[in-house]
């Protein structure tokens, strides 16, 4: 669809100052927790993906950096034999938008927690959640909501049932819409239809509240997912006592965004009334093995462009500037 929106935003004084201040504050927070900055090149010379901004450098097709995690992973796999445990980044990525109103050039700050294969990952996941919990305060948001999910809750039952890719895709699309009736429509007379439909209803039964984790026990895959459930319960026990004021913690069992990438716990940060998540991340243990490194990783990205938009359209959500 042709659109004429400012896909390459020029930031004027107020927004430019806010971006500089937020970048500095967030990188300071990450540095204080042991995260060291890496700055991958803005230009990708290999693996030019669809959706990136591509151009010819002489005869060579290259692309602008479209995703920090992917750029960093390539850099780390190429330049390091042992994984640096904590990495941070800040800058712009350029990506063709899915929604017509999104910008192509987007400003981000984020971090990656990388470990060797076989190391316990529970503490790293909680470390990232704690960091994300501190971010609304750093940004001056009056209130925020942190959603905890787990990609394995959907991925593992689909894998266990051996669903063909197109059917699995239809089920994930239905869950993404939070539409259990669409799950039933998609599965029709598949032998696993009743089990997977019941699982979808369990995942969608509660968005928050004390019974959210209990809903998972009603799933036909409760046994298969026991480890994930216990892991989520342990994370909640660690995080709830240290919840900052004005931050709500919610469990979102049906979070399937980025399911092709995430393999375990997921994190999403919202502000009340915001139309898009302001930060997102999770565990993606298949990325580095795909690049020939037996490493596990998790991380999150703060979407500063969305925050700048929000500060412009909903200044009431932010504390007044000093």
């Amino acid at each position: 669809m042709p659109v004429r929106t400012p896909h390459f935003p020029d930031l004027l004084f107020g927004a430019a100052a806010r971006l500089r201040r937020w970048e500095g504050a967030l990188m300071g927070l990450l540095e204080a927790h042991g995260y060291r900055e890496l700055h991958p090149s803005l230009v990708l010379r290999e693996a030019v993906p669809d959706g990136s901004l591509r151009f010819f450098d002489g005869d060579e097709l290259v692309a602008l950096r479209w995703d920090f995690t992917v750029s960093l992973a390539a850099l780390l796999a190429r330049r390091f034999t042992e994984p640096p445990p904590r990495v941070a980044y800040a800058g712009a990525v350029f990506r063709r938008p899915v929604q017509p109103w999104e910008a192509v050039e987007r400003f981000e700050v984020g971090c990656e927690r990388i470990q060797a294969e076989g190391e316990a990952t529970g503490e790293a996941d909680v470390e990232l959640a704690r960091l994300l919990m501190a971010i609304p305060g750093v940004l001056g948001l009056k209130g925020a909501i942190l959603h905890l999910g787990n990609a394995a809750l959907v991925r593992r039952p689909l894998e266990a049932e051996g669903l063909p890719p197109n059917l699995a895709e239809a089920v994930v699309a239905a869950l993404s819409r939070r539409a259990p009736h669409r799950v039933r429509e998609a599965l029709a007379d598949h032998p696993a239809a009743a089990r997977l439909a019941a699982h979808a209803e369990a995942l969608l039964a509660e968005l928050d509240g004390p019974h959210t984790m209990e809903a998972l026990k009603a799933s036909p895959y409760a046994g298969l997912l026991q480890e994930e459930r216990e892991r989520m319960e342990r994370a909640l026990q660690s995080l709830l006592p240290i919840l900052p004021p004005n931050l709500e913690l919610r469990v979102d069992l049906a979070d399937v965004a980025g399911l092709g990438f995430y393999t375990g716990p997921t994190l999403r940060l919202w502000a009340p009334g915001a139309q898009q998540e302001l930060a997102a991340g999770g565990r993606y243990d298949r990325l580095f093995p795909g690049l020939g490194r037996p490493w596990q990783a998790a991380g999150f990205c703060v979407r500063l462009s969305r925050l700048l938009d929000l500060a412009d359209t909903r200044p009431d959500l932010f504390e007044p500037l000093p």
């Binding site: 899915v98 929604q99 109103w101 909501i145 959603h147 819409r177 939070r178 539409a179 259990p180 009736h181 669409r182 039933r184 979808a200 209803e201 969608l204 039964a205 968005l207 928050d208 979102d252 999403r268 919202w270 502000a271 009340p272 009334g273 915001a274 139309q275 898009q276 998540e277 909903r314 009431d316």
Partner: protein, 224 residues
């Protein structure tokens, strides 16, 4: 969306004609005087909640962008547009079929045998999916209204359109030769509003489902 107001997008046309009487006497009943006017933003019986009356094809865009927090729209429209929004319930009413329709006497086999099949439709995506499933190829003639005229005037061999009672088809000498799918009214929600303000949006969604409960499929209502 401002922090003070909540907007619900309701469809104009056939689906809206079925919906408005169902809302009468409920907390989301539409203001009768405003309905008779040309206003497109209608107060409801709940203070702070207003309804937008929109064409079905535009409605999902308002919800996906978060302008309206909730909306009611046919699943046929949702499937064509594939917008990023939540689909909280199948409301059951407005049920109809998406069908391949041709002039009486022209069978599906005869259409299959045509070397250059032309199909007129408002639903190109669903039509393409059906053609793919059937292993057929066809030239699609995009139309936005009165598709029934296309076979009569030679613009297309057949049409793919919504059929509720079949009365319009019969009036034009057309018959259903294949059913491609089914459609019904769906309650949709803006992803951002639903996930970031469940305390505001979920009671409203549940209220709507309750108001329309005679036609909601029970298993669906449980999930919301």
């Amino acid at each position: 969306m401002t922090p003070a107001s909540l907007l619900i997008a309701f469809p104009k046309g056939r689906l809206g004609d079925e919906l408005v009487p169902k809302l009468a006497g409920t907390p989301l009943a539409l203001d009768a005087a405003a309905l008779k006017s040309r206003a497109l933003r209608i107060p409801t019986a709940t203070p702070g909640v207003a309804a937008l009356l929109l064409k079905g094809a535009d409605l999902p865009r308002y919800v996906a962008a978060g302008v309206a927090s909730l909306g009611i729209v046919g699943s046929d429209t949702l499937d064509e547009l594939d917008m990023d929004l939540l689909e909280l319930a199948d409301l059951g009413f407005g049920a109809c079929r998406l069908s391949l329709c041709a002039r009486e006497g022209l069978t599906l086999e005869a259409l299959r045998a045509k070397p250059h099949l032309r199909l007129a439709t408002k639903f190109p995506k669903a039509t393409e999916a059906w053609l793919s499933r059937e292993g057929l190829t066809a030239e699609l003639v995009p139309l936005s209204s009165s598709a029934e005229l296309a076979p009569l005037l030679g613009l297309a061999d057949a049409i793919v359109d919504l059929v509720q009672t079949g009365g319009t088809l019969r009036a034009h000498g057309l018959v259903e030769t294949a059913v491609l799918g089914h459609s019904s009214a769906r309650l949709v929600a803006a992803r951002g509003a639903y996930l970031s303000e469940p305390g505001r949006i979920r009671p409203l969604a549940e209220g709507l489902i309750q108001s329309l409960s005679s036609s909601v499929k029970p298993a669906v209502a449980k999930g919301v």
